[in-house]
């Protein structure tokens, strides 16, 4: 019996060793594996290099595997691929949908242990980017960028915010900015004039309150905040002096106080109810009793589509303006979220993959993105015009101007500890918004918690 246990333990240990990359091919697991497969899992760079060499020699057709999410509901994947394949006839792109909700988990698992066959991976958010960079599974793009003379200034400074120790591991191709959506019908009914592109937060709060009607059964909410932390806390980073990884969060106080007061007065719906009932922000807006809602520009396409389909009937008359700004700060600063492409270190066809990444995040990719109604990371006046001329886009000039930004701050800047910091901030955001603790207590806990993480 003892022997049996020992051998089981040994087998497990050896399996562990293989995982850790010590590359013993005599493990219990490799015995059952076809020889070529175990070679892939053990030798990392050698096998990748070998495949690459084989491909370039033969000059045959290469198929790149691209990891992404939501194929069926994303309109720009296929047009991007078509445009690229037209230009590179010997490179084919195969999409692999890893699902949206667990994308980071699945991608991280797939890229573990360097046996992955993805050539291009999409990066969803900054914490996801940071974990992959920390794991060392993404290729440093610095050399390729300078060799091909790519001008990073075209990305409006966002690439600087994801550069780590001078190294860049992703190129953005989609950029969403936050704006303030509003329902013109609600304003007309209340006899309030529409919001403008240079509102201060005080003015915004006033307007929200003047729209509000707390009559039971016929409530009108002047403002709506989705349950995400960004909708409240990050209003504070728009002055350009603070960021979510600062370690001190006293600057969030006016915004938390404003929103908590608003929910107590019935100006916006209660966070606790919204959170547990799972009301989606687009459905909240569609119910037609919300005056203003701060949300990302991705909501534009949804709104246009659902109004066209006849599902949304109570918010057909909508518009948007720039984010409100703090006193004395130039209007037009806003939050941004980027979607980017990276090259895994284990990519079987790194050269072809780099061609694809360059294409998608470059000028031609940007044109395709804009033609599908999405804001590319590389943006200019032509692109804004082409989005604003889309069918269903509000016709007023204010709404079009709302897309022109002066500064874009990422919701979460790149930081080694960003996912841990996010945990602390989310926890306190939740407690403040459910009014389980006061704004001051919450901020104190944020300061203590994040400083402890940064000190590690």
């Amino acid at each position: 019996m003892r022997k049996r246990i020992v051998s089981v333990v040994l087998a497990g240990l050896m399996a562990g060793m293989t995982i850790m990359g010590c590359g013993s091919s005599s493990s219990a697991t490799a015995d059952q594996a076809p020889a070529d497969e175990s070679a892939t899992s053990a030798g990392t760079e050698t096998s990748a290099a070998a495949t690459e060499a084989a491909d370039t020699e033969s000059g045959e057709e290469v198929t790149l595997k691209w990891a992404l999410w939501d194929i069926s509901s994303t309109v720009y994947y296929q047009p991007l691929i078509d445009a690229f394949e037209a230009e590179h006839p010997d490179i084919k792109i195969e999409m692999v949908d890893l699902g949206s909700t667990d994308y980071s988990t699945v991608l991280g698992t797939q890229l573990s242990g360097s046996g992955s066959d993805f050539d291009v991976v999409t990066i969803k958010d900054v914490p996801g980017y940071m974990t992959l960079v920390n794991k060392g599974v993404l290729t440093n793009l610095n050399d390729k960028i300078s060799a091909d003379g790519i001008d990073l200034s075209q990305y409006g400074g966002v690439t600087d915010q994801v550069t780590i120790d001078g190294n860049l591991y992703e190129l953005p191709f989609r950029s969403d900015i936050w704006v303030l959506f509003y329902n013109k019908d609600v304003f007309d009914k209340a006899g309030v004039s529409y919001p403008t592109n240079d509102m201060t937060w005080e003015r915004y709060d006033e307007i929200a309150r003047s729209l509000t009607d707390t009559t039971a059964g016929a409530e009108v909410y002047g403002a709506h905040y989705h349950t995400w932390r960004s909708t409240v806390m990050l209003d504070g980073i728009l002055d350009g002096q603070h960021s979510a990884v600062d370690g001190t969060y006293d600057w969030t106080k006016p915004y938390y106080e404003m929103v908590v007061k608003e929910q107590q007065d019935g100006v916006c719906q209660d966070y606790a109810t919204l959170k547990t009932q799972g009301l989606h922000y687009s459905d909240a807006f569609a119910q037609g009793n919300v005056g203003m809602m701060n949300m990302g520009s991705w909501f534009i396409a949804t709104l246009i589509q659902k109004i066209k389909d006849g599902e949304y009937t109570d918010c057909t008359n909508w518009g948007m303006v720039k984010y409100p700004h703090a006193d004395g700060v130039e209007p037009g600063s806003t939050l941004g979220t980027i979607t980017a492409l990276s090259l895994p270190t284990s990519a079987p066809h790194p050269d072809e993959a780099w061609e694809f990444i360059k294409f998608v995040s470059g000028e031609k990719g940007a044109e395709v993105m804009a033609s599908t109604g999405n804001i590319p990371a590389m943006t200019n006046d032509d692109i804004v015009n082409s989005i604003a001329s889309m069918d269903g886009f509000p016709q007023d000039d204010t709404s079009k101007d709302a897309l022109v930004t002066s500064n874009v701050y990422l919701e979460m800047p790149a930081n080694d500890k960003s996912s841990e910091i996010e945990e602390v901030l989310n926890n306190e955001h939740d407690l403040i918004m459910t009014e389980s603790e006061s704004v001051d207590e919450g901020i104190q806990n944020m300061n203590d918690g994040v400083q402890a993480i940064l000190a590690e």
């Binding site: 019996m1 049996r4 246990i5 399996a15 562990g16 293989t18 995982i19 697991t29 490799a30 059952q32 594996a33 076809p34 497969e37 175990s38 892939t40 899992s41 999410w69 939501d70 069926s72 509901s73 994303t74 692999v96 949908d97 890893l98 699902g99 949206s100 909700t101 667990d102 988990t105 699945v106 698992t109 797939q110 573990s112 242990g113 046996g115 969803k124 009932q277 799972g278 009301l279 989606h280 687009s282 459905d283 569609a286 119910q287 990302g296 991705w298 909501f299 949804t302 659902k306 599902e311 949304y312």
Partner: protein, 280 residues
């Protein structure tokens, strides 16, 4: 007189029991009714408060859309295939192994059995990554075989079957042994027929678990044509929105096979030792 009050008491007891059962049925059925009504609504109407239980204009389009928005038929075919194979293997191997754990004396029985139970206690999230790397090393990534291996040899089945065999008197096996029957004969001719309720239970549980499994297929199956129904359900939840109307329509559909299996196997819940007339 006495018998009259007794029947009266019995009547009251019956009424109380039925009242309780109806209340129970009501509490249990609320989500089902919700699922069905939600599946007939526009997404925006689902979370309206107060909830509209009766929708005047049921939106049957959701049931049409789920077939066109994702390759639902392929997903169903894959799920059925995987579920049947896994359930079959699970029942076969675990009832086989459980017999040894319950009715045979052998070296290392307790420690092996404990190792089975112990692994049930380890959350899958912990060994998911090593397991994935190992499976990929074997060339099993993105194959249905990986899901089958993942699910078919669960410790749960062995543990459950062993507990039910424990309840079958040892004297039955002893008698058969004296009659010269081999252990394999005892297993197939005595134990299996006697454990129909337990086998039915295990079939139901394995079926439900495999049918509803999500994270396993999501991590292992990356090719569209190999994906399963539950991954398909999640395809209605995208980054910035969730199509609850479609999710509920597909959920309602995916529930039907599970209910059929449950109903079909229920009849075995009345045939135990008691009814087969075996003397204890």
């Amino acid at each position: 007189m006495v018998s009259k009050s007794k029947t009266k008491n019995r009547l009251i007891a019956r009424i109380v029991i039925y009242a309780l059962l109806l209340l129970l049925a009501f509490i249990m059925l609320v989500p089902f009714v919700w699922m069905v009504t939600a599946s007939l609504k526009f997404n925006k109407d689902i979370f309206v408060v107060p909830y509209q239980w009766l929708s005047l204009q049921p939106r049957w389009q959701n049931y049409v859309d789920i077939w066109t928005k994702i390759p639902l038929l392929t997903f169903i075919r894959n799920t059925v295939k995987l579920t049947l194979i896994v359930t079959f293997l699970q029942i076969l191997t675990s009832s086989f192994a459980a017999y040894a754990f319950a009715k045979l004396q052998f070296k290392g029985r307790d420690i092996l059995f404990l190792s089975y139970i112990a692994t049930i206690a380890v959350p899958w999230q912990v060994y998911m990554v090593p397991q994935f790397i190992m499976m990929r090393g074997m060339g099993l990534a993105d194959t249905h075989l990986s899901i089958i291996f993942l699910q078919a040899f669960s410790a749960f089945g062995v543990f459950m079957m062993r507990q039910f065999y424990e309840g079958i008197p040892d004297s039955l096996c002893e008698a058969a042994r004296i009659d010269g029957m081999s252990e394999y004969g005892i297993y197939s001719r005595i134990m299996l027929p006697l454990s129909k309720p337990a086998l039915s239970t295990l079939i139901i549980f394995t079926f439900v678990n495999t049918w509803n499994d999500f994270l396993g297929p999501l991590i292992y199956l990356t090719t569209e044509s190999k994906k399963t129904l539950q991954i398909g359900l999640k395809m209605f939840i995208s980054q910035y929105s969730a199509e609850y109307g479609l999710i509920m329509a597909a959920s309602c559909l995916s529930l039907i096979p599970v209910l059929i299996v449950f109903l079909a196997l229920q009849k075995y819940f009345v045939e135990g030792i008691a009814s087969t007339g075996v003397k204890g």
